[in-house]
């Protein structure tokens, strides 16, 4: 998986612990995954079937269907970056978006979601797309541009005109609301 090297041992341990001790949550998530397409998803996963649900089904879930970032969320967590998710991807997605995920993990995935062109930097065009999604295209292009310049000015520490993962994480540390807002209840 691309970017796996980022995961520190604590994050890997987090996924392991989550999957081992939280069987109840696991059961709920499995049933939700299966409810999206009961004819495609078998009840028996012992032989690791290769089942991938298309993005349209994932995006129609009530928790995601009105979220302006649902496409990016599905793309970030899917295997090939096209939004089609296996059960593992689905479980990872809701684990990161749960209240137990550590802050660094959430910051990492939030960064990837806002990085529309997947170049490991949030540049001005990524920010403009974010602003348009957040405001439903109600701002004029000049206003969008002004807002993006302000954001880069405030958050860019090494003055290269774009936000790296470290800049983003540094901003997250100073916004304690992030942990409670980057969270989907299921």
């Amino acid at each position: 998986m691309k970017g796996f090297g980022f995961f520190t041992s604590s994050n890997r341990l987090f996924f392991l612990i989550l999957s081992c001790t939280d069987n109840y949550r696991l059961c709920i998530l499995f049933y939700r995954y299966r409810d999206l397409a009961p004819q495609l998803v078998p009840l028996d996963y012992t032989h690791k079937p290769d089942v991938t649900l298309p993005y349209e089904l994932i995006g129609s879930m009530p928790e995601l269907k009105d979220n302006p970032f649902r496409q990016r969320i599905a793309e970030v967590f899917s295997e090939d970056g096209d939004g089609n998710m296996t059960l593992d991807n689905f479980l990872d997605m809701f684990s990161v978006l749960s209240e137990m995920a550590p802050r660094d993990l959430k910051a990492y995935y939030a960064f990837k979601i806002y990085d529309f062109n997947n170049d490991d930097y949030i540049c001005k065009s990524d920010l403009e797309k974010t602003v348009n999604k957040l405001t439903r295209n109600e701002l004029t292009p000049e206003e969008v541009s002004l807002v993006c310049e302000k954001v880069i000015y405030e958050a860019d520490a090494d003055n290269d005109g774009k936000l790296s993962l470290e800049d983003f994480q540094h901003m997250i540390i100073r916004a304690p609301d992030f942990l409670s807002t980057f969270h989907i209840r299921i």
Partner: protein, 592 residues
Amino acid sequence: MFFFLTFFIWTCMKHYFQQLLCPLSFRRFGNSLSEYFHLLQLRYNTLKVIGAEFGTSVLSYFIFLKWLLTFNIFSLLINFSFITIPQFLAAEPNNLSFTGLELLTGAGYFQQTVLYYGFYTNATISKIKNGPSYNMQLAYIFTVGLYFVICFLILLFSIAKSFWRNFINPQAYSVNASKLLCTWDFNITNEKAVKLKQKNLSMQIKEDLTEVNWEVLSVSAKERVVCISINFASWVASLGTALAACAGVYFLSTNNLKLFVKGHRNDLESQAAMLVLPVVTSLLNAFIPFFYSWLGRLERFKTPGQHIYVTITRNIILKISILGILCYYWLGIVAASESQCWETLVGQDIYRLIVVDFIFCLLGSFFGEFLRRIIGTTVYVSLGLPEFDIGRNVLDLIYAQTLTWVGILFSPLLPVIQIIAFSIVFYVKKVSLMMNCQPPRKVWRTAQMTTSFIFLLFFPSFVGVLALFSHTFRLKPSEECGPFRGLSSMYAAVSEWIEILENYTASKWVVWIYHNLITSELFFFILSTLVLIVTYIYWQIIEGRKTMTKLLYKQISNEGKDKMFLLEQLRSLQRAKQTPSAPGGQGQAGQS
């Protein structure tokens, strides 16, 4: 043979259990599991639905309410098991009749029940002759003391954890960046709420882009003087209103006392007269905050956050001063009066206050939200739907909890009333929210507000109650009722017990701890000095780290500039390398 049999059984069982515990083979569970999940989901569902439609800030009020409910259940368990159950064993029969009015006034039938201090015996209870005995006096004091110590620790740890998680250095807070990238609420899953939030965000961004910073504007000296005088005048008005309210409450309460001392007539008139004080107090607490928010609208504040904090501070001053006057009345005047059982009288007063406050809370929800929605949608359509006022509702909760804490010594079963009240308030507020309110327009800094709520619960409320108790323990208890009758003060029970223990060699260490640690001032002086020194050390470490952070920031910025400079150099070198080949070639061609 035996060995092979056990081995065979062991492998069969291992195989069987592996099948059973294999986490993803769900054939065994089937339908029963889905029913079980449905039940567990119900508890989760209420909070999820509220968060989905209204966002995290309104959700924080409901989470705070649930937390207070758990707190009260815990205090009920402690009081009930250590004080009330032993009292049931030594109970005297109740000769009074029960009319429905007792639920409201707390007097009458309830006077001779475990609800009030006056009913508890001062004897040492022992059902079996020469068996273990239960000293009611010590049990009462130690239970209440232990309960407060545990509350103190729980509150302290909650504040510390909340502060550590949520503290922001206000200078380092990047407003625009966080507003854009960190505050989109992924909890909201209702289409209308999402559209509304998007509209609010775009309006806020437009406002931010066009507003001029009030400080940067060269405000003329005259305007500044006018502003400061308006601020000063509104503070004087608010403090004056609080003072007038306190005077009114004091006057009413001394009248109240005359009623009790006159006689114990249980007819309707005197019962209704007992309700005047709580109703007037609750009316003052309900209407003066409207006056404060009107004052707040007249003034001009630098940030909307400042407006909220000033309004909350004024409301707190009002509530605390009214409570303070009432406590002075109870402990200073009622305790010294000639009434038969002053602790029970105080307990009844607090019971009435809590019940009337609860009724006013429900009425406030009815008028403030339901009627306001009807007015906002039919008569004055421009007003629109009301917003859920988080600040005022949280202050009401904190006030109710403070009343419970004040009254717990005089009425040990008060948490029962509070649990019932909080549960009803939870459902009423939830239904009212869903039916009548719209999501909040302004983005609240939820994490900071939650920290402030717990801090407010701890600092004025809890610490005030502790101070109250240390005074109560030195008062003279009434002669004819309660577990401390006949003693010179409630505290005397403990000192008498220590005197008894001095005669036993096995418990000399308890006596030593009492004389040298609990009653000695030197020990507390040393403890306070140590705490201050440790705090100072930690403060210095934080200052040092702040300077370090600033230096590292500068370093990152310089590295970035270095990187740009070197990249430019590289580019110009590459350009210089490419261009000499072209004129060289032409020269050669020209020469040849």
